[in-house]
């Protein structure tokens, strides 16, 4: 009989950490599946394109098992993180903003989609002035479109707002040039 049993409380299974370990194991399986799909020409049989993927997969399996063991022993999440409840509502609005951006960027263009994302994320972070945020978002998105993107030579496609503004700008340039 060991006396140390009384001192340390039995470790509790940490579910979130366990899920991460299992998730990594699933990733290793996906790596294995994709590695098997790589055709290997006999010409490269010594060090072909699959050697590194297999090494990586092995490493991932070992690491995920170590993570699962750590999860079974009570996990590793810092106390500070555990004590702070997750603000699901705030996260929900941020995610909604990202999804809206993804769905609207092609039909509406970058600026309009960004304004909607901006307002949703601000709301998620506790801002309660949607109109002011929309105006700020519009200014920022236009600055990003005409400043950052044009300066870097990045093409981010034009939607309704950009086209209207481009038309106006071209018209002004036309007038100035006479």
């Amino acid at each position: 009989m060991s006396t140390s049993d009384q001192q340390a409380p039995p470790p509790r299974l940490a579910v979130p950490e366990l899920l991460i370990g299992v998730g990594l194991l699933a990733c290793a399986a996906a790596v294995a599946w994709q590695t098997l799909a790589i055709p290997v020409s006999p010409l490269y049989s010594k060090v072909g394109p699959t050697v590194f993927p297999y090494i990586t997969m092995t490493g991932m399996v070992i690491l995920s098992l170590l993570l699962i063991v750590a999860a079974l022993r009570g996990g590793w999440q810092p106390e500070e993180e555990k004590e702070t409840p997750t603000d699901w509502k705030a996260m929900g609005f941020v995610v909604a903003g990202l999804v809206a951006n993804l769905l609207l960027i092609q039909p509406l263009g970058f600026t309009a989609a960004s304004v909607i994302m901006f307002v949703l994320i601000c709301h998620g972070f506790g801002s309660r002035h949607p109109l002011r945020d929309a105006l700020l978002g519009l200014i920022l998105a236009l600055a990003a479109y005409f400043g950052f993107a044009k300066a870097l030579g990045v093409n981010i496609g034009a939607g309704f707002i950009e086209n209207q503004l481009n038309t106006v700008i071209n018209a002004i340039i036309g007038i100035v040039r006479g």
């Binding site: 994709q34 010594k46 993927p53 941020v94 709301h123």
Partner: protein, 507 residues
């Protein structure tokens, strides 16, 4: 002497009006993103990578280097006034600096950290100028096997030795490897890990990975933790001029910090955490004012770690420029900028791209001068930046994240990958996985694979090259010790401590 000639050449490159302008833009932007919580140099440089298609390599590297140095200066302002360390390297600065600010000596804390950053940054840059040619001579003897072993050593040190857990660090690194392998294998032309999607044939752009982990992941994390309470800004009180006593306590700490930071940064291990913590411990031990540590804030405890931080940031450039070995996320992204120009950093870089390398080093001296001016007389401007409210700040970050990602190929698939990586970044942040090894693994992994395959091709498939070459064996042994050493030591300690308790009548 040769170094001095090369430096003269470098200054002739850096002192052109256009390059001075890039240096000013970089340092200003760098300070701003260093001050703003949630933005860092790795993310900013990643977002600006498309500039490499527009301007000469000298210009973009002067810009990036300005951002890199500037973020260090700006980060210390945030840690002192807000107690929210923007970067892991400034955690120590926050320890004493925030206490000094609370006891009304914020001005002196900002001054010692800015001047200390200048002193250490300048010494560190001198170190780069004189050490780099020496490392090059050494590195010319490296074959593919040695390079591979060196990269293994770097992988172990950046992910397993530094940070709170070697298992989690290595997990991040391996995720980086997988991301790095997505796309067409350059040696055989076979697509790997593409899941049959043609969009993945070109691989995942480092911009998407950096933006996903650092911008989207960080925003989700901050949103999830709104209940954790807010840090308040300590109003800036006290003059920026340090008293004679404060100068006397600072200058030795700066020099000691620089002496600790540069060599550790220059090792193929990198990381600013160890030198800053080491410097803090030393200053605390040597100080005549031990009572001020942890109470009203001791100026040595700001001066030393701040100097160590900047000197190690300079040191990181040595393995980056001479061996092509990035040991921080920012350095890894700078390496991908080199690749975008078709330049391979390595021992030949200093001779084949002398203008670029020496222009970059010279611009770092100029950047330090600009930064100390930007961060002392103009400090009020940066304090105002701290007041940008969180909702608009994070929403704005994501607008720029969209530009950076969607601009690559106007493909919504890129946004999907971005958000998936953002979700991964959130989980990593929440469950204490370091994110930098992902970026390092993604950039350095494919390079390590290339060296590995080259070595195996030369040896005709004989694995023994990695342990019959003396240098390679040494590097691998060091990596092995780095990986397992701390665990074995902890186990022995554990056994020794619990040993006596178990002896009497235990079984």
């Amino acid at each position: 002497m040769e170094t001095l000639n090369q430096l003269a050449l470098g200054f002739s490159v850096a002192f052109t009006p256009v390059n001075l302008m890039w240096c000013l833009v970089g340092t200003t932007l760098g300070t701003a993103i260093g001050v703003l919580p949630g933005l860092g140099p790795a993310l900013t440089i990643a977002l600006l990578l498309p500039i490499t298609y527009q301007v000469a390599p000298e210009a973009s590297f002067i810009l990036f280097a300005g951002i890199y140095y500037g973020a260090m200066y700006g980060g210390s302002t945030t840690s002192i006034l807000l107690n929210t360390p923007g970067e892991s390297a400034t955690i120590v600065t926050a320890l004493e600096g925030n206490r000094m600010a609370r006891s009304g000596r914020g001005g002196a804390a900002l001054a010692t950290s800015a001047i200390g950053s200048f002193v250490a940054g300048t010494l560190g840059t001198l170190g780069v100028a004189f050490l780099a040619p020496v490392v090059v001579k050494f590195a010319l003897a490296f074959g593919p096997a040695e390079y591979f072993s060196l990269m293994v050593l770097a992988f172990i040190t950046v992910s397993a030795v530094l940070g709170s857990s070697s298992v989690r660090g290595l997990t991040s690194l391996f995720i980086g490897f997988v991301i790095g392998m997505i796309g067409v294998d350059l040696q055989t032309g076979q697509p790997r890990f593409t899941f049959g999607m043609s969009e993945l044939l070109d691989g995942v752009d480092v911009i998407i990975v950096a933006v996903g982990l650092f911008a989207v992941g960080e925003t989700l994390y901050m949103a999830s933790r709104r209940y954790a309470g807010k840090d308040e800004i300590v109003p800036l009180k006290g003059s920026l001029y340090m008293t004679a006593a404060e100068w006397g306590r600072s200058w030795k700490a700066w020099l000691r910090g620089a002496a600790i930071g540069f060599p550790i940064g220059a090792m193929p291990a990198g990381g600013a955490e160890i030198p800053t913590f080491l410097s803090y411990a030393i200053e605390k031990k040597l100080s005549k004012h031990k009572d001020e540590f942890g109470t009203v804030g001791a100026i040595e405890g700001v001066a030393g770690p701040e100097a160590a931080n900047n000197a190690s940031a300079a040191g990181v450039l040595v393995p980056m420029l001479t061996l092509g070995l990035p040991t921080s996320a920012t350095a890894a992204i700078m390496l991908s900028a080199f690749q975008s120009y078709g330049i391979n950093p390595g021992p030949l870089l200093l001779t084949t791209q002398a203008n670029l390398v020496w222009g970059l080093i010279a611009s770092l001296f100029i950047a330090n001068v600009i930064l100390v001016i930007l961060n002392l007389p103009l400090i009020g401007l940066w304090v105002r930046l701290l007041k940008i409210p969180a909702p608009q700040l994070y929403a704005g970050i994501l607008v720029f994240a969209t530009v950076g990602t969607y601009g690559i190929s106007q493909s919504p698939i890129d946004l999907v990958i971005l958000y998936l990586l953002g979700a991964a970044g959130f989980l990593m942040r929440r469950f204490d996985f370091p994110t930098a090894p992902v970026i390092i693994g993604m950039i350095l992994g494919p390079l390590a694979e290339t060296q590995f395959r080259r070595a195996m091709t030369i040896s005709n498939g004989d694995w023994s090259v990695f342990y019959t070459h003396k240098l390679s064996l040494t590097l691998l042994t060091l990596a092995f010790i780095g990986l397992l050493g701390p665990h074995i030591w902890a186990y022995i300690e554990h056994q020794r401590r619990r040993g006596p308790e178990h002896v009497p009548g235990d079984a």
